[in-house]
């Protein structure tokens, strides 16, 4: 009976308590809702791709602040480690920071737009110059006037290509601000930020065109070691810059399925460029011989070059009795006086050795072979001079001897 009474009174109490309030809300629910809205605003700030989108976020921050001001005390206790005011401050700071990004993007966009125009102009100009150089290169042997014109064109083309390369590098710089460049991996918002500056893959195309034009330039011209050194420095700059940002640019600009293909293509072009510079030295050396009528067996490294020279000289030595002396001497003059001692030795040998394209051993072998050839063609007559000297000495001695013997006879007669 007593327990029945207790239960009844307890149930009444519960009913009374539960009926006090029509609406009851969990604190946790309030805090969770605040956190969810906070995270959503934070994400909107990060994902905004235009200033207009970002401006909408500002209203959301204001609304959040107003809506939860009444729960400040609860939020101060519950948000950990931040508090209500700090959380709102954080959102405002993130908003301002992002706004700064957009200002930077505006400046960079203008910069990139201007650079693009210049690059396009230079691309066209370089193309025209390359065609002219190729035409003149084909008739290089014609006359001095053509050669002069060609040289001027090459200088113009080289500086134009250099100018365009620098512009493309500046474009890469502008497209990939240092803050983004130094990150190990790009986040979605970084990609959006960078991609907003350039909607298509022009930048990748410009990189490819730049490398291809450099390769075409090398192929179309005969360059000297100084030119090659300059090209190597330029190549180094470009490669360094590409290594820093290339993968990230591809991540942003290349189509999803084509990223690795794009990267491979550009890497291959860089390799081709490097090989073209190396090959250019050997091709120019070969051209130097060809211009003087000497056809060496083709070579593309130091060993092959040394073998080719040794083989050529060896053949000439074998043919000494077969060819006329005059013809042999003419070939020697073309090879040694007009080519080897005129261009190869003073201009190229040091470059080849310094760049580890030729060893000292190779150089010595070639030089001794050329010396051997010279000796065979122009044998030294030192022994004739020795005999003449001996005859003169003996003759003088004999004269002296006879004169000395005649003197006592005259004394006797006195």
């Amino acid at each position: 009976m007593k327990s029945n009474y207790l239960i009844k009174s307890f149930l009444l109490l519960i009913t009374f308590c539960f009926s006090i309030s029509i609406f009851a809300q969990s604190d946790r629910e309030i805090v969770d809702k605040f956190k969810a809205e906070y995270t959503s605003i934070e994400k909107s700030i990060k994902d905004a791709t235009t200033l207009q989108e970002l401006n909408l976020v500002l209203d959301k921050i204001t609304m959040l602040k107003q809506e939860y001001a009444q729960h400040k005390e609860l939020l101060d206790k519950s948000l950990y480690p931040d508090k209500y005011d700090e959380s709102i401050d954080k959102l405002n700071k993130a908003y301002l920071l992002r706004q700064g990004d957009f200002s930077t993007i505006d400046v960079l966009q203008t910069e990139v737009g201007e650079l693009k125009q210049q690059v396009e102009f230079l691309n066209r100009r370089n193309n025209e110059l390359l065609v002219q150089v190729q035409k003149l290169e084909a008739q290089r042997e014609k006359d001095a006037k053509t050669i002069k014109k060609l040289e001027n064109l090459v200088v113009e083309l080289r500086s134009s290509i250099r100018e365009r390369d620098e512009l493309v590098l500046s474009m890469i710089d502008s497209l990939m601000p240092p803050t983004v460049r130094n990150k190990e991996a790009l986040t979605l918002e970084d990609k959006n930020m960078v991609a907003a500056e350039e909607k298509n893959d022009n930048v990748l195309n410009n990189v490819k065109i730049t490398i291809k034009d450099n390769i075409r330039f090398i192929k179309a011209t005969s360059l000297k070691p100084n030119d090659l050194e300059q090209i190597k420095d330029q190549q180094k700059d470009f490669v360094t810059k590409w290594q820093k940002v290339g993968v990230k640019l591809i991540e942003v600009y290349a189509e999803d399925g084509k990223k690795s293909e794009e990267l491979k293509q550009i890497d291959e072009l860089f390799n081709d460029w490097t090989s073209a510079v190396k090959r250019e030295a050997w091709e120019t050396i070969s051209d130097e011989f060809s211009l003087n009528g000497i056809e060496l067996m083709s070579f593309k490294n130091g060993d092959e070059f040394a073998n080719s020279v040794e083989m050529f000289v060896g053949d000439e030595l074998k043919n000494l009795g077969v060819k006329s002396d005059e013809e042999s001497k003419r070939i020697y003059a073309q090879f040694a006086d007009s080519t080897w001692f005129a261009t190869i030795q003073p201009v190229w040998i040091n470059y080849l050795i310094e760049n580890k394209m030729l060893t000292d051993e190779n150089k010595n072998k070639m030089e001794s072979k050329i010396a051997e050839w010279k000796n065979a063609l122009y044998p030294s007559n030192w022994w004739i001079y020795l005999i003449i000297a001996l005859v003169v000495i003996v003759g003088a001695g004999a004269v002296f001897f006879f004169m000395k013997r005649k003197k006592p006879a005259s004394n006797v007669s006195e």
């Binding site: 307890f10 109490l13 519960i14 809300q25 604190d27 206790k77």
Partner: protein, 150 residues
């Protein structure tokens, strides 16, 4: 007289040796309840307050079923005196525990509803713990419902 002095000194020594250092007042209240998912072993972990406890016994006590903890989540809050209040959906009771050496010891079991709580939630309303279920709410202490008989 001498004996009295010795007795007096002896009592001082005994009193000094038996006194326990007490720091007060202390407030143990959590500002917000924690909603903790029960893992496959029946354990719940609260990272913010660094507490980890096995709830298999709690679910067994409530449902008389040792596997009833699976897929459940426990609501937990601590009041200013340091008592832990725990409940979960479909529980008819709120359990009150006090911390002991490596364990939580039941202090009270507060009967709430014969039909079980649908969406229970605790709010910190110092000195009470407010229990909210849907549109209903009531204040609890470690002794029971505020103003109630438990």
């Amino acid at each position: 007289m001498k004996q009295l002095i010795f007795l007096f000194l002896f009592l001082i020594l005994i009193t000094a040796a038996c006194s326990v250092l007490t720091l007060q007042p202390a407030n143990f209240s959590w500002p917000l309840e924690s909603v903790l998912p029960v893992d496959d072993n029946g354990k719940v972990t609260e990272d913010r307050y660094s507490i980890e406890v096995n709830t298999v016994g709690l679910f067994f006590e409530e449902f008389q079923d040792s596997l009833s903890f699976k897929g459940k989540e426990v609501r937990m809050i601590r009041d200013n005196q340091g008592f832990y209040f725990m409940t979960a959906s479909n529980f008819k009771n709120v359990y009150v525990f006090k911390a002991d050496e490596g364990k939580l010891v039941q202090e009270n079991k507060i009967f709430i509803s014969e039909f079980g709580l649908q969406t229970p939630a605790f709010n910190q309303r110092d000195p009470y713990i407010e229990l909210v279920d849907g549109t209903n709410k009531m204040n609890l202490t470690h002794k029971g419902v505020e103003g109630g008989s438990k």
